[in-house]
Symmetry: C2
Subunit: 480 residues, 2 copies
């Protein structure tokens, strides 16, 4: 008698054939992407309306499933891999990353413990050490000392983990055992990412304990204002817990002065977490490492290779200077996970470094990307994006209809139409509706700005030039 499993699962040749078909679909999709509007044009409910209300009782033809990618899915896709994607930040992938992800899906191991797949842990540890070297990060983050790195899903989770560790470090009671007591305060600039407030809330501190610190004219934290805020909270009986410095804020890529902030944190024994989610990749270019000055005094740091470093989501790289603090805060050891290797103390069990227990083999993506491009190749790609951004900035400066609203630090240009907010909004809306490129508008200190981020894997100089032509043209019309 044949097992049901033999009848129902694909055999090897079907897996091979369907796998190749999927690869071909992706390659053809990327080849056709420029013929599609960057942003999806569906209305709420349109995609749902083309999906059956009920699941199929019996298996469908897989060709029908694949056909629905074109008919149902693609109209509802906003194409983040489009070469004229200049919206938000990038969420890049690349060939070597996709190949690594296929291998990871096929191996399908659970790397929660060293023991449950040693390679999943040891490759990750080495990749995190490689990144320290590649980006010129402080040696204190290396796993060969007291520090260490781990892949998190997102910077949001990294911030939360940093806060969980910070809570234990700054308090004279055990938060892990007793819970949050009193007012444990957290500090970041008003330009910091929303995930900071979310972490403050999740960790049970409460949004009211989150302090927005005043910024200077470049939208960086004013260290004196930070010092005053911490002093005031201490005087009021609060327990200052963590400061988040941002290298490259979401709206404008403003850079907080890490070294000066670190001095304030040391003075008050407060945990310093540095979030460089998007802009951290720029440090591949040595000239950009000024942004990281003072990082050797930070307690934790993260950036997202899945944004600008050609590694597919999810891959946030997170380091701590004292791994024991993180592990102590997050480790709960049940009987069924006990094993000789863990108890020997010779291995890392990454389950104790983040929120989830299970984890897939994400380090393969880093390994494949770094080896394929080499450090120099990655540096050249990022340097090229920076050059294109500089060129773009010059065009904006030379056009009397536009003004640069914020100092460019990396690959993001922030601009506004001289006729004001309404004109800026109208230009962005028209560009997005035309569909050949995509931009984001946001409000900073009461003013509408149009953001152009230049960093896509598929983007070439011609796309950057075309983007400027379109903006200039629509901007000229907006004036009249």
């Amino acid at each position: 008698m044949t097992d049901e499993a033999d009848q129902l699962h694909w055999d090897r040749e079907e897996m091979r054939r369907r796998g190749h078909q999927a690869i071909d679909w992706v390659v053809d999709y990327l080849a056709s992407i420029e013929q599609r509007p960057v942003q999806s044009r569906v209305e709420p409910g349109d995609v749902a309306a083309s999906l059956p209300l009920h699941p199929p009782a019996t298996g469908e033809s897989f060709d029908d499933v694949m056909a629905d990618l074109d008919q149902v899915v693609l109209p509802g896709i906003t194409h983040w891999q489009h070469p004229s994607w200049f919206a938000f930040f990038n969420s890049n992938t690349s060939g070597p990353s996709m190949v690594a992800d296929i291998i990871s899906s096929g191996l399908a191991v659970q790397g929660m413990l060293w023991q449950t797949s040693p390679a999943c842990t040891e490759v990750e540890t080495r990749m995190m050490d490689w990144l320290v070297e590649m980006l010129g990060l402080p040696d204190s983050f290396l796993s060969t000392g007291d520090g260490g790195g781990v892949i998190q899903d997102t910077a949001s989770s990294a911030t939360l983990c940093a806060l969980i560790a910070a809570r234990e470090q700054v308090s004279d009671f055990a938060v892990d055992r007793d819970g949050v007591q009193g007012k444990m305060t957290v500090y970041a600039s008003s330009e910091a990412h929303s995930s900071v407030e979310k972490a403050v809330r999740i960790a049970g501190l409460g949004s009211d304990q989150f302090r927005h610190v005043d910024v200077d004219e470049n939208l960086g934290i004013d260290p004196a204002a930070l010092d005053r805020a911490i002093e005031a909270d201490k005087a009021a009986g609060c327990m200052p817990t963590m400061v988040i410095a941002t290298i490259g804020t979401t709206a404008t890529t403003a850079v907080d002065p890490v070294a000066a902030i670190a001095r304030v944190c040391q003075k008050h024994s407060v945990w310093l977490h540095v979030d460089a989610a998007h802009s951290g990749t720029a440090a591949l270019v040595p000239e950009m490492r000024w942004m990281q000055q003072g990082l050797e005094d930070a307690d934790s740091y993260c950036f997202n290779p899945h944004k600008w470093m050609f590694v597919g989501f999810d891959c946030d790289a997170f380091w701590v200077r004292d791994r024991k603090a993180l592990i102590k805060a997050l480790s709960v050891l049940p009987e069924y996970l006990r094993n000789e290797a863990s108890e020997s103390g010779q291995v890392i069990d990454y389950r104790d470094w983040h929120i989830p227990l299970g984890r897939r083999f994400r380090a393969l993506k880093l390994w494949f990307v770094i080896r394929n491009y080499g450090v120099d190749g990655l540096r050249r790609l990022i340097a090229e994006h920076l050059q294109w951004a500089e060129w773009f900035e010059q065009q904006v400066e030379s056009d009397p209809r536009w003004q640069l609203t914020h100092k460019r630090t990396v690959n993001l240009i922030c601009m506004a139409h001289i006729d004001g907010d309404e004109a800026t909004d109208r230009v962005a809306q028209q560009l997005n509706e035309q569909g050949q490129m995509s931009v984001t508008v946001t409000t900073v200190q009461g003013k509408r700005i149009l953001r152009v981020c230049i960093g896509g894997t598929q983007t070439r100089k011609t796309h950057v030039e075309a983007a400027w032509q379109r903006i200039a043209k629509v901007g000229a019309a907006a004036r009249s």
Copy 2:
């Protein structure tokens, strides 16, 4: 002048060729898996020793990268997809899931908002509704009413999100704004997963506020003991916040009596979260739905399609009865994420349903798997696993050297050697060292048990039979 990007990124044909190569590697790997020891035999540091200490300055040949999969990675892999994997629980994948993951890697969209790729959100919502129907879950979880489902990475994160929502619901102050105040207590059986204590800690309640409730002889929560524990805490001025009932505990797949627990929760207005991470898949088989009795009175529920339902990691399916409670607890809206669609209230923005902001298109995996197998195909596969588990159980019962230690509820057999803990440990160790199969031993109520979980995608009846032969043989030798 050619862009650096043109020189450094793969062109379409290289992507196609390397993609096919990766698929072939995975197919060949799965074909060769039975020739490998299930558990990796490397020692701590072995894999790291074969990785360069420093990243390559320039790009390497990709053939060399692929070759290292065989030489460096595979020796360090514990093969979770091995057909004789009977350890922990399964962490399955399948052909259609892998294909969907390739598409998801290629589209590489960020589904944080409806607007940033409507299909990513709307397919997910429909899949979560399909699962409600497929598993016979309560209609209260459907998105068409006040409830709704979302994909989380793991059950650990689902538990944490449930707790964040519960904190707001039970308190007469705003935890999100003011932080945790006083003692907010959480209840689960001593057999509940370690992620419960981890969530209690992360959410700032503190481990001391986590109550292990007494269990009955089947290791299910004693509802009367739960009631007493809550009463006592209320009398002591604590704020009972959440109860976690488990359908299928990690050690023995014990099932808590959900209906009776729900009555206690309703009496005390405490949030009830039900965790069926592994065993929830069994509900594809209607005869197994007794486990879910009372679920209509739960506030939230999760199970992991990435364990037993042939969907690759990560895919935890999490539902709430009142989506507003979850969203209110987790939503922080910065200016740069504001958009018309969100403000219309007509769409779901899944970023407000979990910890991370970014999210990949994971619903494709569910869609492809459900359509490929059909509901009936999935049911037949799970029913077959249950039959094999029943057969295995009979063999254990008929062998005088072994005793079943716990009632079998789904596809896990718990057994002990009649010569005691040392013999049980020795058998497990020998089996794992022989390398032809993999099992887990753990301690429950002071006794060592050997666990055999039968649910792998690659597993066939012949593997189950061979596993029993091996256990019987080693068990016989252990006695002498």
